[in-house]
């Protein structure tokens, strides 16, 4: 490994995040922890300032402080079902959120969080509901800006603006790059410096299943992944399924094929110090389904299965607990849950649960459900196994990679089969126990350290293959 070169880990997403890390944010945060734990002088951290169009170094201590502040104090407000009283202020909030739900979670969630805290338009809407339409319109305009294809990059002749990188360095980015980065700028940096770049591919769902996302976002993501192919020396894919999807898109679009590598995401929840009590959240027996509530996650098949069981005369059933934020495209589904007398009172929706609460929810569940139509990986399935809990899972995309033979897979469209197998495991606790025993004996949850180590090894290999370019390997300077 060259003594001159540095491995840079990009923490842009962490520094912009405001609440407990989930999904992509957790990956970046956990990888950061691993990289920071190495304590090596040649491992440094940076973030991208999109307004200034430049990268800046940031200290590990500063990032650690950010993560520490947003990590564990979340409350677990119960998400009101549509039947519950909604105040005018809540209605205004929901109106704004409904508009936001048109966007995919990857775009929407960070926007919503940021918007709630920082966007004057939404703040105005929340406090002055009579002016909500105007305010939401203003927010919509801002969102359009947020989601439109990138345009502004520094003039190519001027080359990229100064960055802390040196020729031959490796830059790793695992965050919400489609929103927070400028790929043209990144590509220019790569050309100007001979920078080696590692990027992540979580999933190609917006490209493959555009009907489950907003059209413009689907287009944006196709462009994003093609740009990833151009920018990256290596792409970390979180499953063989994602790798296959990514390479398929690369070939279809004519983009160059970068090296790819599978990286398993950790499924060990962070150890929590705080006490947690979920008794006020759910008192009965329950089956657990952890996921954002949106069409792709296919909550509806569970609703149909439960309704069918009730129709069959099975009135004593455990509660179904959905843990996750509200997504888009589920208004009719939620309305069904509220109106359908067969299922009224049988579903509980929880949001903003802490890690400790989530861990307890897994542990106390009878078993878990994961009927998703498509996944890049399927972290809730892995977490279920990590908690020793059996899962009835969809047989789609990457999920069989996650659960192997420890899980039972069902076609996500066949609600009767879901009903049948749910009833089966409720009626056969001894089989459930056998399943849980097999999980305890055979499942080894990938740890986030494993994840961080895989990424770090990829970076080290790139570093050992790269050599500083140009006579002056100091700061970034244009070579064209």
């Amino acid at each position: 490994m060259s003594t001159m070169s540095t491995i840079w880990f990009d923490v842009t997403t962490i520094v912009h995040w405001q609440r407990p890390p989930v999904g992509v944010v957790r990956v970046e945060a956990e990888c950061f922890k691993y990289f920071a734990s190495l304590g090596r002088p040649d491992v440094r951290f940076c973030h991208f300032d999109k307004r200034a169009m430049s990268y800046h170094e940031i200290s590990a201590a500063y990032v650690t402080d950010i993560i520490g502040r947003y990590g564990s104090k979340a409350s677990a407000p119960r998400e009101p079902l549509p039947s519950e009283t909604v105040t005018t202020a809540k209605r205004t909030t929901q109106r704004a959120e409904r508009m936001l739900r048109r966007f995919s979670p990857t775009v929407r969630d960070p926007v919503l969080e940021l918007a709630k805290k920082t966007t004057p338009a939404l703040r105005t809407a929340l406090h002055h509901y009579r002016r909500a339409s105007t305010a939401v319109g203003a927010l919509s305009t801002q969102l359009n800006e947020f989601t439109k294809p990138m345009r502004a990059s520094p003039a190519p002749d001027a080359g990229p603006s100064p960055a802390p990188f040196h020729s031959g360095d490796v830059l790793i980015s695992a965050g919400l790059d489609w929103d927070q980065k400028d790929r043209v700028y990144l590509y220019q940096l790569k050309l100007a410096l001979g920078l080696k770049i590692i990027l992540f591919c979580y999933d190609l769902i917006p490209v493959l299943l555009p009907h489950l996302c907003v059209g413009e976002v689907a287009g944006m993501f196709a462009r994003y992944f093609v740009d990833v192919a151009w920018c990256a020396d290596e792409v970390m894919c979180i499953s063989r399924s994602s790798q296959r999807d990514f390479l398929s898109l690369v070939h279809e679009t004519g983009a160059p094929e970068p090296k790819t590598r599978i990286v398993r995401l950790g499924s060990n929840l962070p150890e929590h110090q705080e006490e947690s009590n979920i008794d006020d959240l759910v008192q009965d027996k329950y089956l657990l389904f952890v996921s954002t509530i949106e069409r792709r996650k296919n909550h509806e098949v569970i609703y149909r299965a439960i309704a069918q069981l009730v129709e069959q005369g099975r009135t004593v059933l455990p509660k179904i607990v959905f843990v996750g934020m509200m997504g888009w495209g589920v208004a009719d589904f939620l309305s069904d849950l509220r109106i359908d007398p067969r299922v009224r009172g049988r579903f509980i929706i929880l949001n903003h649960v802490s890690d400790a609460q989530l861990s307890q929810l897994y542990s106390r569940s009878e078993f878990t459900l994961y009927p998703s139509l498509y996944e890049g990986w399927g972290l809730p399935l892995a977490e279920s196994l990590a908690h020793g809990k059996f899962c009835l899972a969809s047989n789609s995309s990457s999920l069989p990679e996650v659960g192997g033979s420890l899980v039972e897979y069902i076609d996500p469209w066949e609600s009767r089969r879901w009903a049948e197998r749910i009833a089966h495991y409720l009626d056969h606790p001894e089989e459930l126990a056998r399943r849980e025993k097999a999980i305890r004996e055979n499942y080894r949850a990938p740890t986030w350290s494993d994840t961080g180590r895989t990424v770090f090894e990829a970076a080290e290999q790139l570093l050992s293959n790269s050599s500083p370019q140009g006579p002056d390997a100091s700061h970034a300077s244009p070579t064209h």
């Binding site: 790929r183 043209v184 192919a229 151009w230 279809e252 004519g254 160059p256």
Partner: protein, 404 residues
């Protein structure tokens, strides 16, 4: 005895030439003038197709929707040019044309065969009966037209193609001199009855761009490299581009652009907007629309690569000549290089006849390590592409015929 006079006839005006045919017609007029001729131009143009300001003093508008000029009583598409000769030779139009012409014309230069009926009728006038006919073939038109009808699935191709063949072969037989743009067409024209065939390939005008405009485009396009495609809205230009590039432009690096100038752009923008990967595609495309010459000169100066994705058509292409003349990398189909065989061996010319080959050549040409500056070798060869050289032998050859 004064200077010999020539009347060049075509179906497009040449005051403000845009497309290849117009450029060639104007260059011919200038070549005649440079050769000591008094040269005038008459166009029979589709009514409403050109703004009034673009029409010359002798130009006549053809009401294409008048059923009297339908082919076989059918309103057949893609046949306005074919029908324009019958209109121009009809009594009313002919009288207007005749009244506007100079009394002395030594040479009728029929650029493409469309106005042959008019020339034939003019030749019956005593004052023009001794005039020579020069037939300027730009393509072997009949198979080209048949191909367009087949590609578009249009009806009544037999009406049009039969008429085109008749006009073309008659023009060959009647012409005292036939000009061809490519060696490949030479033999065909002879077999169609041409007595004397002279090579007069398409050429170009050298361009020099204003630095201010180059800078403006550089700022606007904001790209490390640009690949330039210039084309009219002629359907084969649209089809050729899509055939060569495919429906996704992911092979273009994020900091590069394909710039499309000319009427073809709006059709290609529409195609790529409708394609599955539209956001990706539009991030790699810049469509300028029709441009003034000086703007186009700036783009040609700025371009890193010239694209010639042409799969149909005969003759030789002015866009090809311009691309080669640039000395920059050119990615071209074999078809687009017809008539430029001598240039195909230049190192900057990359022949690509399939989508995969075109995309691979694009990736290579737009990569940071590719040949970016103009290739200075072959400059002498490229100079032959200028109109004054490519058409240099026309006026002397016609003078020689007149002397007989």
């Amino acid at each position: 005895m004064g200077s010999p006079s020539v009347l060049l006839l075509s179906t497009y005006p040449i005051l403000k030439p845009r497309h290849g045919g117009q450029l060639r017609a104007r260059a011919l007029v200038e070549a005649y003038r440079a050769g000591g001729f008094e040269a005038a131009h008459l166009a029979v143009v589709e009514k409403g197709a050109f703004p009034r300001g673009a029409l010359g003093p002798l130009d006549v508008e053809f009401p294409t929707q008048d059923p009297r000029w339908f082919l076989g009583g059918q309103d057949v598409p893609v046949s306005n040019d074919v029908r324009s000769g019958d209109f121009a030779a009809s009594d009313d139009a002919y009288r207007r044309v005749l009244a506007s012409l100079p009394r002395k014309i030594d040479v009728f230069h029929l650029e493409q065969p469309w106005l042959l009926p008019l020339v034939q009728r003019l030749k019956q006038e005593p004052r023009y009966e001794r005039a020579l006919i020069v037939y300027g073939s730009q393509n072997i038109e009949a198979p080209l037209r048949e191909g367009i009808f087949r590609l578009k699935g249009l009806k009544h191709s037999e009406l049009v193609v039969g008429r085109v063949l008749e006009l073309e072969s008659t023009a060959c037989r009647l012409a005292d001199l036939t000009l061809t743009v490519s060696p490949a067409d030479h033999d065909v024209l002879q077999r169609m009855g041409a007595r004397t065939v002279l090579s007069a390939p398409n050429g170009i005008e050298a361009w020099s761009a204003k630095p201010r405009l180059v800078e403006r485009w550089r700022t606007k396009l904001h790209a490390r490299r640009i690949a330039l495609f210039v084309g009219s809205a002629h359907p084969p230009n649209v089809d050729g581009f899509v055939k060569a590039m495919g429906d996704s432009l992911g092979f273009v690096p994020p900091d590069c652009r394909i710039v499309i100038a000319g009427g073809v752009g709006v059709h290609l923008a529409d195609h790529y907007q409708r394609a599955r990967f539209n956001t990706l595609n539009l991030s790699r495309l810049e469509v300028t629309g029709e441009l003034e010459d000086e703007e186009l000169a700036a783009l040609k100066t700025l371009a890193s690569v010239f694209l010639l994705p042409i799969f149909e058509g005969g003759g030789s292409n002015i866009k090809t000549a311009e691309a080669i003349y640039s000395g920059k990398p050119v990615i071209a189909t074999s078809t687009s290089l017809r008539g430029f065989d001598a240039y195909a061996r230049l190192p900057e010319i990359q022949v690509a006849d399939t989508r995969d080959a075109f995309q691979a050549a694009m990736r290579k040409a737009l990569s940071p390590s590719s040949l970016a500056p103009a290739n200075l070798e072959g400059a002498g060869l490229r100079a032959k592409l200028l109109w004054n050289q490519s058409l240099g032998s026309v006026a002397p050859a016609v003078r020689q015929l007149l002397a007989r």
